[in-house]
Symmetry: D2
């Protein structure tokens, strides 16, 4: 899923996958939640989480906040893959619909860019609960991401 770098175009900008992996590694929250980065492609990023008591809400399901965290990161990193080198990505707003309790063996957020713009990018993330070899859609997030350039300490 990783595009091979073109040896004739060494200044074409950072490898999107390396860029996302380096930024993801700095997200303390993802480590705290036990979330892992999956496939990274141009405009599409996956993040997974294993349900466990440390990320639960009061009925034992994965907390809406944890579902939102991986979905927001998946959407944000999908946006980042299409941003110019040096830009950082910030979430301006998102909306999430929680369709079913998040439970099972694995929760997988699949982010993809809907429309990429110079300043604002619209991305969505579908979140699936995997159980017994089956996938169930449990949440849908829509996010507006902002490309931030030339601000101290904000670069990805």
């Amino acid at each position: 899923m990783r595009a091979s770098p073109d040896p004739e175009a060494p200044h074409a900008g950072p490898d999107p996958e390396a860029r996302v992996r380096a930024s993801f590694a700095k997200q303390g929250l993802m480590r705290t939640l036990g979330a892992t980065l999956g496939d990274v492609a141009s405009g599409a990023v996956e993040i997974a989480l294993r349900p466990n008591p440390a990320v639960s809400q009061q009925h034992g399901f994965v907390h809406a906040g944890a579902v939102s965290a991986i979905a927001d990161s998946a959407a944000g990193y999908a946006a980042l893959t299409l941003m110019p080198p040096g830009a950082g990505v910030l979430t301006a707003e998102f909306k999430i619909n929680l369709l079913a309790p998040a439970a099972g063996e694995r929760i997988l957020a699949r982010g993809r860019v809907v429309k990429s713009g110079r300043t604002l990018t619209l991305a969505q993330a579908e979140v699936f609960a995997e159980s017994g070899g089956r996938e169930k859609l449990v949440a849908l997030l829509t996010a507006t991401l902002m490309a931030v350039q030339g601000r101290d300490g904000i670069g990805d």
Copy 2:
């Protein structure tokens, strides 16, 4: 802020504050994030979080997912204080606008009910970053909460 229980009405339903505190204690994610429950009143609940690397995004600010988690719980528990005994609260959807980087000494989410209904409740949470004795609004969440009754394992 806690209404004294009326000794003449022992069956009037659970004390809202005790109900929220008991449910909050079961949210593994709140413990993992280091979030603490603040004031609990009828229709209004506060949750606080101390910024630290374990809840950060890649630039060192508190991750939008952690901000959303405490804001969603604050809004949801504000809704729960007005739900009938035995009902459980689930988030159907929420939307959050992130207005400024969440950083400082403390992040405080103040949830309050906008309109309480039989099945659906609308609540908002304002999230403030406290620093040097000043408060700054950093996020605004709007959530639709559902009262769930008679479903196994879902009660608060």
Copy 3:
């Protein structure tokens, strides 16, 4: 696009297309805007609008409110096609991202159900501006629709 009614199952419920067309004809706002109902299938409904000064905002584009109106109706009627006979459909909430000015020869909202539930249905509508034979995505709406049963005057 219309499923042929099964002659062996005369009580299977109303024809989805007839049901949507009958309800759409009662929406005064759609007539006022000059909106027209397009294809109606199970879980998917299209509504079109011709840009003109009567539906404009101040810069001459189609007003976000008019774009929202056809997108909300398209999503809502997509949901209605999957609701039990006698139920009426109401919008509980929606969110819309406006990606580009809505202008051109025709604005087309394509609603489709994401997840249909007993009480709540999640649907999306993509809105396209058509110009010179090309389509451009100008808005994305996500809506929560409620099936209302047994309430006076609310049936579709």
Copy 4:
């Protein structure tokens, strides 16, 4: 409610109320819906609508699209009052919760700015249905508005 222009500062920028009234007069959709502009103050704008069959949905209530249209305009114009001269206002996204059927003698949207920024402004609009001298909250909209500068044909 209108600030008197300072005769000593003729270049201080347009009078916010005159600016909003001039732009509102160009919104063909507001005229088509029969919506009227009410109070305009710095950071706060009201728009009213009389329920009638031309703005209805299929059960006779005011259509969610018409409610959204006046709420979006009220929020957008509240934002415009705080934008620099020459800037135009566009809605980037909004979310609306519909709390009760919009019906009665008058529907009133009250927009106010939550946070005003250089590029993005967050505003909310509460929508009330007035009936028999009483007001009922029927909808709550949250919108992200963008200040657009130096783009042909977009100025308010």
